[in-house]
């Protein structure tokens, strides 16, 4: 088949919008488009798919943009879990724009990597990331929490492309991740599974049942990322039901463990790329984060678990996030 016949200009433009916007190649694409040099567009597109690695700077810019759009969305909807969203966004950005082998045009491709947002209350950050990655339209973010919107307060797989499973009740993601990793093992497939959970969430016993199973089943294709912001809903984790030392607990359960700065994208990239040197070992990455990261007055404050900024606070937050860009 002649490759040129697969692409018309609209399709190409669509691809550009969805994927390439992010890469340094974006400007080249746009230029080629306006010149209607179809052949060149296709070559660039194929090139970009094959070499789609974004540098740290581009990933950081993307994370800032996602923070800003998340803030706007929460402010518009007058609800959300902004503290835990800000703490997770560098992790989500690194996963979706660097690590995960996924294709927004085929969200259910059987061999895709799987990601589970076990801390489902931060759905808005996931929606914003999915929108920037091309799974849904950016415009749709304005419907967040509106009557009959697909964008519910917690993610729904049957409505939103890119969502793997319906979360919102804490402590469900890791067992499901084990099933996904086991499925890859059974079918001899190479997909990887990533689960992001909260640190407070680890108080749910289901996680520890799963922790035992993951090592027992030798699931080295499974990575658990703990968003270790040291806060839960009503208080510090340490003052509620101390979990420390998290990494040592997982190590005792047979996992490979590392700790990283959860806001350092270079560190996150490296940690996510790596798999345990010991065959069969699942990996737990403790990402040290701050709730409300990026917005000074929210940072490390328990009350910003699900508070909504007022007008002045919103404006200040926008200013701070924009200044960082």
């Amino acid at each position: 088949m002649n490759i040129y016949s697969c692409f018309d200009l609209n399709t190409a433009d669509n691809f550009c919008q969805r994927l390439i916007k992010l890469s340094r190649k974006y400007a080249d694409f746009r230029k080629a488009l306006t010149d209607t040099r179809l052949h060149e567009i296709i070559c660039l597109y194929i090139y970009s798919l094959e070499t789609f690695t974004l540098d740290v700077q581009t990933l950081q810019d993307m994370a800032r943009q996602i923070r800003l759009d998340d803030l706007k969305t929460v402010y518009r909807a007058k609800a959300g879990h902004i503290g835990g969203e800000m703490s997770a966004i560098d992790i989500l950005t690194t996963l979706y724009f660097h690590t995960l082998n996924i294709d927004p045009t085929q969200p259910n491709k059987p061999t895709r990597d799987r990601f589970i947002l076990s801390k489902g209350h931060t759905a808005c950050a996931l929606y914003t990331t999915l929108a920037h990655r091309g799974f849904i339209e950016l415009d749709e973010l304005s419907t967040f929490l509106q009557p009959h919107s697909r964008l519910n307060g917690h993610p729904n797989r049957n409505k939103v492309p890119g969502v793997e499973t319906n979360t919102g009740a804490l402590g469900h993601g890791l067992p499901i991740g084990i099933g996904m990793a086991k499925a890859a093992q059974l079918s001899g497939e190479g997909w990887r599974v990533f689960v992001l959970c909260g640190d407070g969430e680890l108080q749910e016993g289901s996680n520890w049942e799963a922790a035992m199973a993951a090592a027992h089943f030798k699931l080295d294709n499974l990575t658990l990322i703990v968003d270790h912001n040291r806060l839960q809903q009503g208080a510090r984790v340490h003052d509620t039901n101390a979990l420390a030392p998290i990494a040592d607990k997982f190590a005792a359960f047979g996992w490979a463990t590392t700790a990283v700065d959860g806001h350092d994208i270079a560190q996150l990239r490296e940690a996510f790329d790596k798999r345990s040197a010991t065959a069969g070992q699942p990996t737990c990455i403790v990402a040290n984060t701050f709730k409300g990261q990026g917005i000074s007055f929210m940072q490390d404050k328990v009350e910003w678990h699900h508070k909504v900024p007022n007008k002045e606070q919103y404006e200040q937050a926008v200013e701070e996030l924009q200044a960082a860009m």
Partner: protein, 322 residues
């Protein structure tokens, strides 16, 4: 009975103020929660008796088990959590450790029904009547206003055995005056009527009352019953309503399967068959929307209830109702 429909109350306030009053007189009363001090409004309790608030963290199965152990040790634990996680996550603990063991545990399901609105079906608690109702020995109460909430909490503290208090955060008007005496297992007729009966509880009672006012304008006199206690159910009041008015509409902030409507139907079909209409969440996971939006959407606005009642009224006496 209801004079002011516009001033709405969050029944959690009556819940905690009553609990604190009781706790100040009886130091065996303790509270158990799951990182839910704020949403259960237990901040005041914690400040007064920090050592009597047991916050186990985000761990509902543990929470209910701990409650059962505290009861065994002579305490009167009020186990407070979002109703969806309390009943859903810890159901086996509720069955084995609380109901079967007959432990003196007071399960307090906060923000039950559709209260969490936009947070979606993981947070909606529209199965909790069904799940708890099938377990022998749990008294289940869904109070309709602050006064009834106070009575229900006092009952729970004094009753020896498991209680499930199904509470909401959705605003409701005052229905009963402050002298109202709550009696577990006894329903209240809050509006007389002979043409048909509307039975509701919790946040739906005031909507049912308003529906009856709309029906009165159309010449239909509906009896309105507040059935706060779901289990044990008030059989006599149901049988009188069926035999005297000939048709029953039920409304609840719960699935149409297994809740108040089902409990009443179990009595009606076996003792006094009359046509019924069960209003509730119609066997679906709700779409995105606020609690009040979704209740209206599912036909439980005052108008929606009155229309369903109207239709049932004209179907009275028919062999089969479409």
């Amino acid at each position: 009975m209801i004079t002011d429909f516009d001033t709405l109350h969050d029944c959690r306030d009556a819940f905690v103020s009553t609990l604190e009053n009781l706790a100040s007189e009886n130091n065996q009363i303790v509270a158990v929660c799951n990182d839910s001090v704020g949403s259960s409004k237990l901040g005041g309790f914690r400040d007064k008796w920090p050592e009597r608030l047991v916050n186990v963290g985000i761990a509902e199965q543990n929470m209910v088990g701990v409650g059962a152990g505290l009861a065994n040790g002579g305490k009167i634990p009020f186990v407070c959590a979002a109703s969806c996680f309390l009943t859903g996550r810890a159901l086996e603990q509720i069955k084995a450790d609380v109901a079967y063991t007959h432990a003196n545990v007071k399960l307090c399901g906060i923000s039950s029904g559709m209260a969490y609105g936009e947070l979606g079906p993981t947070h909606h608690s529209i199965e909790d009547f069904a799940w708890t109702r099938v377990l022998p020995g749990i008294t289940i109460v869904a109070p309709a206003d602050p006064s009834e909430t106070k009575g229900a909490v006092e009952f729970a503290a004094n009753h020896d055995g498991p209680v499930f208090l199904r509470l909401s955060r959705v605003g409701v008007p005052n229905i009963f005056d402050s002298n109202h005496r709550f009696v577990a297992g006894k329903a209240n007729t809050i509006r007389p009527g002979q043409d048909l009966t509307i039975i509701a509880n919790g946040t739906l009672t005031h909507r049912a009352f308003q529906a009856a006012e709309l029906l009165a304008k159309q010449g239909i006199e509906a009896r309105v019953i507040n059935m706060a206690t779901l289990s044990p159910i008030d059989i006599d009041t149901i049988v009188s309503a069926a035999t005297e008015t000939g048709a029953i509409v039920t409304c609840e902030e719960h699935s149409v399967h297994g809740g108040l409507g089902s409990a009443i139907a179990e009595v009606v079909v076996q003792q006094c068959p009359v046509p019924m209409k069960i209003l509730g969440v119609p066997g679906v996971f709700a779409p995105t929307g606020s609690a009040n939006y979704l209740l209206d959407e599912f036909g439980m606005s005052a108008t929606g209830i009155s229309e369903a009642a109207h239709q049932l009224f004209y179907n009275k006496g028919k062999k089969r109702i479409a």
